[in-house]
């Protein structure tokens, strides 16, 4: 699936020097690993070598909103070393350090619930029928910081159609891998494991919603949710569940991990909304990573034209 005819140059391939240098460093490390593996093939972990592999056959991002943006992209180094991924520790630096040996192959995705075609897919078969495309989205964390990230992935709607959801499929529930042996953060009850997230079916089918397998033209680094993660750019970052192993179609609204952790702080919808404050963070402004002054947060993270109609008759203060 990943090997197709070569594509046009992705905008993400034109990188700044800092990124370029950090990537060169990575390549050198990777060469070292590959070199060692050539001598001792047994040492090469099946998953470990995958991260940072260049994806081919990717349809480049549209330069225009909403699927692209001319805003400056957050450097690769920052995108991959400032992460909230509690399965690998609660500090921002933890996921990059603790996920180094995380195995993302083999990987299966279970599709179940209200669908005509429930199945357990190998990741390759899950992705294979689709063309990968690049999307440059803003990401707004509930902690009042934001990034601009060139994702590579597939519109979730295209994938969902394959499973033929029934009329009872009102919501989609996603589950992260639960494997405390590999995910040291899960050895402590910081959240109720495994991490669960959910979308209303119309949100899941929305053209902006995607399942990402890469960023900056390469396979997802483990700390960014390899091998498969959700990207919903008009919602707070925690909705973008990482390392997905299960997609379940259900009739009732799922209870997400953060709803369990703090029902008064985290709602099911979690739409970016500058007018509805979180008890701990004003949501009116945000710090774009790499910038000094805070900027105003936009309604639905700047995707209001595309998604506001989904919530036309809802009190967003109540359904936060």
């Amino acid at each position: 699936m990943l090997i197709k005819k070569s594509a046009d140059i992705l905008s993400s391939e034109i990188t700044d020097k800092r990124t370029y240098l950090s990537r060169r460093e990575f390549v050198e490390t990777a060469m070292g690993i590959v070199g060692a593996a050539a001598i001792m093939p047994g040492l090469l972990l099946p998953g470990a070598a995958q991260a940072g592999t260049r994806l081919t056959g990717v349809r480049p991002a549209s330069p225009r909103a909403p699927f692209g943006t001319d805003e400056e992209r957050t450097p690769y180094e920052d995108v991959t070393h400032y992460n909230n991924f509690y399965e690998f520790g609660v500090e921002k630096e933890d996921p990059a350090l603790m996920s180094k040996n995380f195995r993302t192959r083999p990987w299966t995705v279970t599709v179940e619930g209200e669908v005509n075609k429930p199945a357990v897919y190998q990741l390759e078969d899950f992705i294979q029928p689709h063309t990968l495309e690049e999307r440059i989205y803003r990401l707004r964390c509930v902690e009042a910081w934001s990034m601009v990230i060139p994702w590579v992935g597939i519109p979730l709607a295209d994938i969902i159609k394959r499973f033929e959801p029934t009329s009872k499929a009102k919501y989609v529930e996603f589950t992260t891998l639960h494997d405390p042996a590999q995910m040291p953060g899960q050895r402590r009850a910081v959240l109720k494991w495994p991490y669960v997230e959910g979308l209303r079916i119309d949100e899941a089918m929305h053209p902006l919603t995607m399942l990402a397998v890469g960023l900056y033209g390469e396979t997802l680094p483990n700390q960014n949710g390899a091998p498969l993660r959700l990207v919903v750019p008009w919602k707070y970052g925690f909705k973008n569940i990482k390392s997905i192993v299960k997609i379940r179609f259900v009739e009732k609204q799922p209870t997400t991990a953060w709803m369990v952790a703090g029902p008064s702080e985290y709602g099911f919808y979690a739409n970016v909304n500058p007018d509805v404050d979180h008890p701990r963070w004003s949501q009116g402004r945000e710090r774009r990573i790499g910038e000094f002054l805070k900027r105003k947060t936009l309604m639905f993270n700047g995707y209001a034209d595309q998604v506001a109609s989904l919530y036309a008759h809802m009190d967003l203060k109540r359904y936060f």
Binding site: Y82, K92, F292, K294
Partner: protein
């Protein structure tokens, strides 16, 4: 050198330099671009951590000198307390300047609406009179008793500081709880001491008529 000279000429200057190391490390990391993707948040965390640490260290002086029988440690307490204030001031300045960039409206809203900021802000304000009255001159002007009474407010300030941290973290309470436990031990020691003193006094009162008779 007498013990007095040793403390004044060697121990105090050394301690002063040591207390500046956390600041030097923050400056070094900032200079070398080692503060990560969100340097302002990082400076916030590190100055906040060191404020709490210095508060706890300052509160540890009394138990340490009594338990280890090192009465001269009291001579270092003022400097340690002032460093707690110094790092709190850095933390506060970072918030006002780098984080909010003097946006008064936002700051007022923050202080009123976010309870962790309310209590942190209040604790910082309460530290100011303690810093101002830390000189020998002020001790004399206030008189030992009143000065001591005023400076007992450091107990509430430390509690406020720990609650500030507890309310700030999203989910993992591990780090703030470590501070909470240490503070509980330090304050518990004082309660225990007071109880012991009281019961000793009672005993003496009970014994005195026997002695006089």
């Amino acid at each position: 050198m007498t013990q007095q000279e040793w403390i004044e000429r060697v121990i105090k200057p050394t301690l002063f330099v040591v207390c500046l190391i956390p600041l030097a490390l923050i400056a070094w990391d900032a200079f070398n671009n080692h503060l990560g993707a969100n340097p302002i948040e990082k400076i916030m965390r590190r100055t906040g951590d060191w404020t709490l640490r210095f508060l706890l260290i300052t509160l540890a002086v009394t138990p340490a000198r009594q338990l280890l029988n090192l009465p001269w440690l009291i001579k270092l307490r003022r400097m340690l307390g002032l460093f707690a204030f110094f790092y709190a001031f850095m933390h506060f300045t970072n918030y006002i300047w780098l984080d909010q960039f003097f946006d008064v409206d936002e700051i007022i809203k923050d202080v009123i609406k976010r309870k962790y900021i309310t209590i942190g802000f209040a604790s910082f304000l309460l530290l100011i009179p303690l810093a101002i009255t830390s000189t020998n001159n002020m001790v004399k002007r206030l008189g030992g008793k009143r000065w001591q009474k005023l400076h007992k407010s450091v107990y509430f300030i430390a509690i406020g500081g720990v609650i500030h941290y507890l309310w700030l973290v999203k989910k993992d309470l591990g780090d703030p709880l470590i501070y909470a436990v240490l503070l509980a031990i330090l304050l518990g020691y004082r309660v225990w001491q007071r109880q012991r003193k009281k019961s000793l006094e009672k005993e003496q009162v009970a014994m005195s008529p026997v002695r006089s008779g």
